[in-house]
């Protein structure tokens, strides 16, 4: 008699643990949610986050506030969000792959995957190397040949993604080239520089003014530094296809602090899936030249693990490069 009572109590005890988060998830959300965007207001991350916030509000029934916490390439915002309670009301919306990559470049302590519970991603972005149309090189191969014949002459700009610039450097290492590298503060600033021919070439992402200009034929695309295809430019090859060892992965996604109950995370994942596949959202993003695509938490994790593996290797490989 006592034994079965014990078993019954044990079962109740265990099921309470199992049932409690479910109950929390049922109640969730019952107060406003905050999207933390670790980059500046008005940027691509910010705009897409606000677009999603609006849809999330309809989907989850609670207002979604967007808070910008820029700085240190996104690390400040991420650290802030990780300091909030793990209750699912503080959600990081950012280029998660870059958040994991940049600490390596900045030589600070890398982000630990265990600290984050990934929700999923909604958009990849390709980084493309652009060049003005009046240059003597029109294809990537011509560009490389020119750089080889004119060491130290070509300048390469970057729209604020260190990883992409380092990938270009890795190509220079492989092909034994010497070029000059310049970092710009944003895709917008880089676009101005390349459109005004202040640099010979520049890498920046889809959706930026440079990209839009390229769609109108004002810029040439040399190569895609990512590993997928560039929207509207299906014939542009990517580095992987051309046989180079490194490429960038830029993935816009959402995450919460680890320790957030799984049912809540799952609810957010489902909401993200639904919202990112919403036809209105897709249409708006496509018109901007972006490619909406949903990846769930597990798939995003694979990308991030790829990042964590690839970036330190890239840095080591590039230590051999001469500064132009």
């Amino acid at each position: 008699m006592k034994k079965s009572l014990c078993v019954l109590l044990a079962v109740m005890f265990v099921s309470a643990f199992w049932w409690c988060p479910l109950w929390a998830a049922e109640k969730y959300p019952d107060k406003p949610i905050t999207f933390v965007v670790p980059l500046g207001t008005g940027g691509m991350t910010d705009i897409t986050a606000r677009l999603l916030a609006e849809k999330f509000k309809a989907e989850l029934g609670q207002p979604v506030l967007v808070v910008n916490k820029p700085g240190a390439n996104g690390l400040i915002g991420v650290k802030y969000a990780l300091g909030q309670p793990a209750d699912g009301y503080t959600i990081i919306v950012s280029i998660l792959t870059d958040n994991f990559a940049s600490p390596y470049f900045q030589e600070v302590e890398p982000l630990n995957m265990k600290d984050l519970s990934l929700i999923g991603s909604y958009m990849p972005q390709e980084r493309v190397l652009f060049t003005p149309p009046d240059k003597p090189y029109k294809t990537f191969q011509e560009f490389i040949d020119y750089a080889r014949k004119n060491p130290g002459k070509i300048s390469v700009g970057s729209g604020a993604v260190q990883w992409a610039l380092e990938v270009v450097k890795s190509v220079a290492v492989k092909e034994n080239l010497r070029m000059k590298y310049v970092m710009f503060k944003s895709g917008g600033e880089a676009s101005t520089a390349i459109l005004g021919s202040h640099v010979d070439s520049c890498e920046t992402g889809t959706g930026t003014p440079a990209y839009q200009a390229a769609r109108e034929g004002k810029l040439n695309l040399l190569v895609n530094l990512g590993k997928e295809t560039v929207p509207f430019f299906p014939e542009t090859k990517n580095l992987k296809q051309l046989g180079y060892p490194f490429y960038t992965i830029v993935e816009y996604g959402m995450a919460v602090r680890s320790g957030t109950p799984e049912p809540i995370r799952k609810k957010l994942e489902d909401a993200l899936k639904k919202v990112s596949q919403d036809p209105e959202v897709k249409e708006k993003m496509i018109q901007m030249g972006l490619t909406p695509r949903f990846l769930d938490g597990k798939a995003l994790e694979i990308l991030i693990q790829d990042t964590i593996k690839s970036v330190p290797e890239l840095i080591k490989y590039n230590k051999a490069v001469q500064e132009g």
Partner: protein, 482 residues
């Protein structure tokens, strides 16, 4: 033109003025918040709303500059210098009116300029690369140091302090941490807003509190005293036109153009004025010129946005983002394909400007009455609004501490007779100068000559040099004759 658009223009202007008056929020914040609302409107309505917000915020910022010596944003800092002095002398109404009218004239002129110039001069924006930005920054700095009268040495020191503060944070080009001492939040650098609110707002409160309480006049201010006198009009109208033209052209140039236009205008007005000693003590041209300039610069900043699709300030980036969310990508194509959108937006800017003046002139009376609130209630209100306003931007506790720290610093500097305006402006311009210099050197492979000897840069350097040396030469020749 639907009547709904008029409503949006009005709503935008009102909202913009409120956010301009309240510290912290600003046009960027207001636009960010409203972005989701605009998704439900059509593109034109959204643009009208944002234009209203932008102009409203510019005006709201000058209101607090004049009444309380607290700049609503960087472009209003210069207005504080003479505007506040005018308010202290009881001419607050005149200052506010001149600011409103000047902004209206400037807005109109710049919109006309936008229409004419958009297609033709837009390419000018592209000619500005790192070397040119460096030139703009350095020349702007020269104007800045000579901005307020008095000791050049003191201005220099304050400017350098501002630049030094601007270097705090993670170095953008290399990722190295500079002067952060392990405080994570300093990584993003010292932001303009907490410093400005501290040095102007809190310091001003401290300054007011230190003296005996001066009983503010309880008499109701008569309408005649609210408006500028005929003499004041006579002096300010030319300044308004000069400021507008100056501001528009500077606005075409990439970078923090509204800010730069204010001090170039102030400098110009001071040089051209028949009453140069009044500057710093309530010269009306010192309000009319810069206020017109910064509004005109806003119109000028729209040019690269529409013509090239490139935003040069965060607020423009917001506008760009909104357009893109509505499926419109600014660029030369937009002008050709959706020319009607362009004209509607222009019309909306006119309407916005018009609304602004209709709305704000009567409000001048209301605003002036704010000064009549007893100090011991007004001061805590200001402090609280500064605190909350600063917090509302980035939810950063460090920002709030900076507010207190710079309040103290601002108070102390003022006690020693230093002007604080250059510090803030240097804080904004300094990083731009450094970044551009380093970028330019990287591009040219370290060749400083190449950075300096470019057509646009040389013209800027020469122009600045002339602005400084010609008056000196004239003075010298006059002395020899005399």
């Amino acid at each position: 033109m639907k009547p709904l658009y008029l409503f949006y223009a009005l709503a935008g202007t009102i909202l913009g003025t409120i956010t301009g008056v309240l510290p912290g929020l600003g046009p960027l914040g207001a636009m960010a918040i409203l972005l989701s609302f605009t998704l439900k409107m059509d593109a034109t309505a959204a643009m009208i709303l944002f234009a209203g917000i932008y102009y409203g915020a510019m005006y709201g910022g000058s209101t607090t500059s004049i009444l309380l010596n607290i700049p609503g944003e960087a472009a209003s800092v210069v207005t504080c210098i003479d505007g506040y002095q005018m308010a202290q002398k009881g001419r607050a109404g005149a200052a506010l009116t001149v600011a409103a009218v000047g902004s209206f004239i400037a807005g109109t002129i710049s919109i006309m300029g936008l229409m004419i110039v958009a297609l033709y001069l837009s390419d000018i924006a592209l000619r500005f690369g790192p070397s040119e930005f460096f030139a703009i920054g350095v020349c702007g700095l020269m104007f800045l140091i000579r901005l307020t009268g008095g000791s050049i040495l003191q201005s220099l020191i304050v400017t350098l302090v501002g630049m030094a503060l601007g270097t705090v944070g993670i170095d953008f080009l290399t990722g190295a941490e500079r002067f952060t001492y392990g405080i994570n939040e300093l990584g993003q650098g010292i932001e303009f807003l907490p410093v400005a609110m501290g040095i102007f707002g809190i310091a001003e409160v401290l300054q007011s509190v230190q003296g005996k309480e001066v009983p503010k006049s309880a008499l109701k201010v008569r309408l005649r005293e609210l408006l500028p006198t005929r003499k004041e009009w006579k002096r300010s109208i030319p300044s308004m036109f000069r400021g507008s033209v100056l501001g528009f052209f500077i606005g075409l140039v990439p970078g923090p153009s509204p800010i730069i236009s204010t001090f170039v205008s102030y400098f110009t007005e001071k040089r051209l004025s028949k009453h140069p000693d009044e500057f710093g003590h309530g010269a009306i041209e010192g309000v009319a010129g810069p206020e017109s300039a910064n509004n005109a610069a806003v119109g000028g900043a729209y040019v690269p946005l529409f013509a090239l699709g490139i935003p040069f300030t965060p607020a423009m980036a917001m506008v760009l983002g909104t357009l893109m969310l509505h499926g419109l990508t600014p660029g030369p194509n937009l002008m050709k394909e959706k020319a009607d959108l362009f004209w509607v937006v222009i019309a909306s800017m006119y309407i916005g400007n018009f609304m602004l003046i209709i709305l704000n002139l009567p409000l001048v009376n209301v605003f002036v009455n704010i000064l009549r609130i007893p100090q011991r209630i007004l001061m805590p209100i200001i402090v609280l609004l500064c605190l909350i306003g600063v917090y509302s931007v980035n939810a950063s506790l460090l920002d709030l501490l900076l507010l207190a720290i710079f309040g103290f610093i601002g108070y102390v500097l003022r006690q020693a007779g230093f002007q604080v305006a250059p510090l803030i402006l240097a804080l904004v311009i300094g990083p731009m100068i450094e970044t551009s210099l380093r970028q330019a050197l990287k591009i040219t492979g370290g060749n400083l000559a190449e950075v300096v000897f470019r057509p646009i840069c040389l013209s800027l350097y020469l122009l600045t040099l002339l602005c400084f040396t010609v008056p000196l030469v004239l003075k010298w020749t006059r002395r020899r004759q005399g």
